[in-house]
């Protein structure tokens, strides 16, 4: 019901597979922790696979934006993969769809980092 996250490497890119809800509290905290951990290990090319994320609240959106600006400020890149309709619509109405680099195919997403 809540958030699960696992990170895997695809070449020089880290793909974080998320499933569940990114909401106020532990969900948002877990996402933050995963991004920090990977940045700490020097991984600056990060893809968040949101294919199994069916719910994000305003706190979760804030966490996505926070992850994006943190990674960018350290010279890295954070991209999004596989948005569910709900998450897509949410990013659309909040005008964040154009801010994030969004992919629906993992290979293309990985290659986009060159």
């Amino acid at each position: 019901m809540n958030l699960r996250a696992t990170a895997r490497e695809s070449g020089s890119v880290i793909v974080i597979d998320l499933s569940g809800r990114i909401t106020l509290g532990e969900g948002s905290a877990l996402l933050r922790q995963m991004i920090r951990e990977n940045l700490g290990k020097g991984h600056k090319k990060i893809i968040l696979n949101l294919g199994e994320v069916n719910y994000i609240d305003s706190s979760g959106i804030g966490e996505l934006v926070s992850g994006y600006t943190t990674v960018t400020s350290q010279g890295g890149e954070l991209k999004l993969l596989n948005l569910t309709k709900r998450v897509h619509d949410l990013l659309q109405i909040t005008k964040l769809f154009t801010v994030f680099d969004v992919y629906s195919d993992e290979r293309t997403a990985v290659r986009s980092f060159q």
């Binding site: 909401t23 106020l24 509290g25 719910y55 609240d57 305003s58 706190s59 959106i61 804030g62 966490e63 934006v65 926070s66 994006y68 600006t69 709900r86 949410l90 109405i93 909040t94 005008k95 964040l96 801010v99």
Partner: protein, 157 residues
């Protein structure tokens, strides 16, 4: 008309757990009022955002303060009130999260989402102090008249 309005009141403590509980109770009521899954999601998330704000800004996480929810199933729409005992606030002071300079802010989207997801949205200031967020959503056209009405079906409850 008022006799036709079903009213449910819930009082919760200022706790993180209250956020999901409020949402779940709301989902239950919205479903029984005839909203489809997508509308239920929007209504539930709006309540969630309202309760988060009462928790955080209204009560500054002070557990002893009570958050009140009122669900009204009026003949034409579901009305939801989220009431706190905090300082209250003016909608006019809330920055627009879609403004270029706010796009990368990590907060400030809760009220925008409630507004987007519901048909009506306003914030009242209570005489005794505190904010009263009032939001409403029309029942879907397919639903038939009266709250909680389901299609008749012989031999099946």
């Amino acid at each position: 008309m008022p006799a036709e309005t079903k009213r449910i009141e819930v009082t919760l403590e200022t706790l993180l757990d209250s956020v999901s509980l409020a949402e779940d109770i709301c989902l239950r009521i919205a479903a029984s009022a005839g909203f489809d899954e997508d509308d239920c999601h929007k209504i539930g998330m709006s309540v969630r955002e309202g309760v988060i704000n009462a928790y955080r800004y209204g009560h500054d996480s002070q557990r002893g303060k009570k958050i009140h929810l009122v669900f009204e199933l009026a003949p034409d729409k579901m009305v939801i009130r989220v009431i706190d005992h905090g300082p209250g606030f003016n909608l006019a002071d809330v920055p627009d999260p879609l403004a270029e300079e706010n796009l990368l802010k990590t907060s400030g989207r809760g009220i925008f989402l409630m507004r987007s997801f519901m048909d009506e949205f306003e914030v009242l200031r209570r005489r005794q102090g505190g904010a009263e967020v009032v939001m409403a959503k029309q029942y879907p056209a397919s639903r038939g008249a009266g709250p909680g009405r389901r299609s008749a079906n012989t031999k099946e409850e």
